[in-house]
Amino acid sequence: MKKIELLSPVGSYESLYAAINAGADSIYFGVEQLNMRALSSNFMTEDIKKISRICTKYNVKKYITLNTIIYDNDILLVKKILKISKIYNIDAVIAMDNFVIEYANKLKIPVHISTQLNITNLQALKFYSRYSDAIVLSRELNLNQIKFICDSIKKENIKGYSKKRIKIEIFAHGSLCMAISGKCYLSLHSDNSSANRGACKQNCRREYIVKDSNKNSYKINNQYIMSSKDLLTINFLDKIINTGINIIKIEGRGKSPEYVKVVTKCYKEAIESVYNNKYTKDKINKWINRINNVYNRGFWSGYYLGQRIGEWSKKPGSISMYKKLYIGTVINYLSKKSVMIILINSYDIKVNDYIYIIGNRIGVKIMKIKIIYDSKRVRRNIIKSGSICTIRTKFKVYKNNKIYKIIKR
């Protein structure tokens, strides 16, 4: 039985290495302004070459997202991005606009139909299968509906553009939209900033007071009236795999590298254990605990188990137990002594602190500080900001890697 593919989000080089180190089978990223994270994703067209090279080196598939609404003035940029993607062997383009799909077909780049197109039935899937190789189903389907679609594909042997059986992809983890998969106008009305061009200002995440025209204010349990909780499927991943889907996707290109690492790693382990028949409740609880420590708004199972109304978060941002504080940067690494030299820019660093080391080439590493020496090689328990210190590490770090302290919220 072929294992399902784990698709991780990449919004920066740090996340890219974090995803690769955590065991992602494939990654997706966006460039320029034509992707659904135009505000937070910082890759440019020139980065395609570098990302492609890194992914090829680690044998990870790479998909490019090009799934915003496209206007006439964007056509040349779309063509440019797709041509460069073809040159650097990008494995697929995640598309929504018909022009993007057609042009990718012309260049013979495989197409994945974005969830923005809201494929919710078999007939729509058949239509798009003529132009694509994988289809991301709508997030509003339940598992029975997904199973029906997957079974029908096998029964009718529906083939994609490349004459192979069409793949089905679903979202497995991450933020959910209060509107149907991103089709939301709130941000456009309030900030002239269209969510469908990747510039969502997240109005739904704010606290609201509900009043009527008679100025009666309503008392409600939760004033975050439309801030949806995050999707979590690790506790019923066996059911998801049983439906027969091929790819599970983690949302979060705008999120931090440690989120990408922890979530990818947990889902990777979960997938492995489902296939090895070692998927137990103890393990599930451990994974959920680990995921709880990184950015989340509380969890629910989405619409997969057939729930009618969404569940809403009760806090503005993350409710995770821990947060990170920027401490300083690595200014040198002595490989003979395996010691890193850090310049502390803010706060202080103590023995027994847990730190993240985040950066290019290493992704995310977590370590506990045991011994610190100051710049005069004197052993200290605390080093204050503005000074230089050395810490021994078990792994190689690189110059300009960033150091963060993990503290309780």
Binding site: A38, N73, D74, L76, D191, S193, G198, A199
Partner: protein, 76 residues
């Protein structure tokens, strides 16, 4: 006298500024982002200085509608 500063790198090509002040902004067909007309490139920003204040209302509107807040207006 006024100075318009436009940080083009962060533009997301929503073309709101072109709708409200077409005399100052136009869209580039090369990369789908806005262009500040008659501007000079300096330190990552596009800068245009103008002596007459007649059209400054339109620029102010552009500053207001920009979703990524990359247009700045300095009045003397």
């Amino acid at each position: 006298m006024l100075t318009i500063i436009y940080n083009r790198k962060k533009c997301i090509g929503c073309s709101n500024c072109i709708l409200v002040s077409p005399l100052y902004f136009t869209i580039s067909k090369l990369d789908g982002k806005s262009i500040l007309l008659n501007s000079i490139y300096k330190n990552g920003n596009y800068i245009r200085k103008s002596i007459n204040n007649i059209n400054y209302k339109y620029i102010e509107k552009a500053v207001k509608v920009c979703p990524v807040k990359i247009i700045k207006l300095i009045k003397y």
